[in-house]
């Protein structure tokens, strides 16, 4: 990284330049360290890294997406996240927030890619349509697939923001007309952090970025490539309504008394028990609430194929592999009924077909009974 350092200020310098005090900066370092799941003693290290690390260039690509990830990010709790991490970090290229536009913007991206080859971080928001040679999503006359492969080539690491880039999300729901594909299925030779969620929590996004820039390496990832600090637990296992679940107290409809009393939404199709995310602990909108707290079940937005895993408001099990609404219990009940009928028919047929054998055995038994010495 050394060659370009003189051109870039450190994070601390840009924070101070923006008019924040040292005290604000320290508050931010403490705040973000807590979200990253670091212990108290690491705050100093985070602060020091932000003071000494030169700004890491970031290219933020938008493909098939709705920009809810960016929206979530700029609504992150702490103002420094939006001001510094986003403004400064995304300075190089992000279509929605950058000042430049058109050819100018594309030229800025090209310049960053050349100048900081192997140093910049590539953030990708949205899935890439692979169908029809990528023609479903074009920016500046070039397909998303093309752009991704080009910008990924010189990236140090890739962050796949949101469920689109991580799992494909709604565009990849059946029948997936554009063949929308998550990033990790296209780029194989770069470290990829998957940050699923529709959108991911702003603090989670900030935490991932700050981890990358302060420690210079990826946060600890699970087997699906998600940062362990934020995706190690199910929403269910950190849900404040969990005691109602364990007690067996469930809301039956959204307007019954149980729902009003805040009972568990399991029977209303809450997907918390299958969803890995931090909603139960970090929450949303500056820690105000999260879906379950607001009385709506989790829809499992950070899980793969969550659009195709049955209805949001019912607890049903689909048969894996069946594309239609094949419900395991319906098919099972019909199957068991047919089987029982078949066995009954078999039993009758057996008695008819084997009648000779059977009568001779019964007769022998009767004659033996008569011959018992009495």
């Amino acid at each position: 990284m050394a060659k370009n350092n003189e051109l870039r200020e450190t994070y601390y310098e840009s924070i101070i330049k923006q008019g924040y005090s040292r005290r604000d900066f320290m508050k931010f370092a403490t705040y973000i360290a807590a979200y990253m799941g670091l212990e108290n003693s690491m705050v100093g290290q985070v602060a020091k890294s932000l003071e000494t690390t030169h700004r890491v260039p970031v290219i933020w690509e938008h493909f098939q997406e709705c920009t809810c990830c960016s929206e979530s990010f700029i609504r992150s709790d702490h103002p420094i996240v939006a001001d510094i991490i986003l403004d400064k970090i995304s300075l190089d290229y992000t279509l929605t927030l950058m000042a430049a536009s058109g050819h100018q913007a594309e030229a800025a991206k090209q310049a960053t890619m050349e100048k900081y080859k192997g140093e910049y971080i590539l953030c990708v928001e949205g899935s890439v349509p692979m169908g029809d040679d990528g023609n479903y999503c074009c920016i500046g006359g070039r397909s998303a697939k093309d752009l991704l492969i080009e910008s990924a080539a010189g990236a140090k690491a890739i962050i796949a923001w949101g469920s689109c880039a991580s799992n494909g999300c709604v565009q990849a729901a059946k029948p997936n007309p554009t063949n929308a594909t998550p990033i990790h299925k296209i780029i194989k030779n770069k470290p990829i952090i998957r940050v699923p969620g529709c959108p991911p929590i702003g603090e989670v996004m900030a935490g991932v970025i700050v981890h990358l820039v302060t420690f210079g390496r990826l946060p600890e990832l699970d087997r699906l490539g998600r940062p362990k600090a934020f995706y190690a637990k199910r929403v269910h296992d950190s849900c404040y309504r969990r005691p109602y679940y364990d007690a067996g107290l469930f809301a039956q409809t959204f307007d019954d008394k149980n729902a009003k009393d805040g009972y568990c939404l399991y029977k209303l199709g809450c997907k918390g028990p299958m969803t890995y995310n931090s909603c139960g602990t970090i929450k949303w909108n500056n820690g105000v609430s999260y879906p379950i707290q607001s009385g709506h079940g989790c829809i499992g937005c950070s899980e793969e194929n969550f659009w195709d895993n049955g209805p949001f408001y019912e607890r049903l099990t689909k048969v894996p592999g069946l594309h239609e609404e094949g419900l395991a219990d319906d098919i099972g009940k019909v199957g068991a009924g047919i089987l029982a009928g078949g066995l009954a028919v078999h039993a009758i047929a057996a008695n008819i077909s084997k009648r000779k054998e059977l009568t001779s055995r019964i007769n022998r038994g009767i004659s033996n009974e008569k011959n018992i010495d009495s």
């Binding site: 005691p243 099990t317 078999h346």
Partner: protein
Amino acid sequence: MKKITNFKRVYVWELPVRIFHWLNVLALFVLVVTGFIIANPPAILSSAEATNLHTFGFVRFLHFTAAYIFLFVLILRVYWSFMGNRFASWRAFWPFTKKNWNNFWHVMKIDIMLMNEKEEDVSKISIGHNSVATLSYLVMFVLALVQIATGFALYGDMASWWLPKMFVWVIPLFGGDFIVRSIHHTAMWFFIFFAMVHVYLVFYHDWLEGRGEVSSIFGGYKFVSDERLKHAHNEDEVEIKDEKGIVATK
């Protein structure tokens, strides 16, 4: 028919096999019932505070306890397939032999398609499991492994013990809890189907053959005709020990 058949008592199912069978029955029953409740719990009406209730937690506790029993008796059974008698041995389950396939087609013809033999061929009567049964047990064994892997994977994230943790790789393998839960739930139905067919066929054999098929899983004995045992002796399958065998007549 004036042919008199003498039956000999043969110890077929040893104690570990019977223990496996009945603990497996118990575990499966509890697993299926609590599994249905967990999938779609009844909403209990209670004005008690959640703190004072643990109803659903208890149902889950039963499910997990039964799951451990299910796993441990399966391990016992696998162990016994190396230590037990010829009917318990893994060799009895090995499907890739000519003898096995002859028996398989014989059972398919006589017992499943209900055809009749002109003359009973004693060599084709099975003393322990028949080949259709062993094949179905092999399929159920694989399905049991699927249930153990998916079940403990779903459980593993809450567990602190290494045993359920051993299966946590299953979730990323399939992509998430959704699909793993669906597999777990769907595979359960095959255990119900299996139990139905299994119980029916046991009664079928007991009724049509009168060789103690039903009681064998309680006491371990089946009754085998002299002719069949002699054939087995000639084939070096079974040793006949007259002094120990109790002869039963029909």
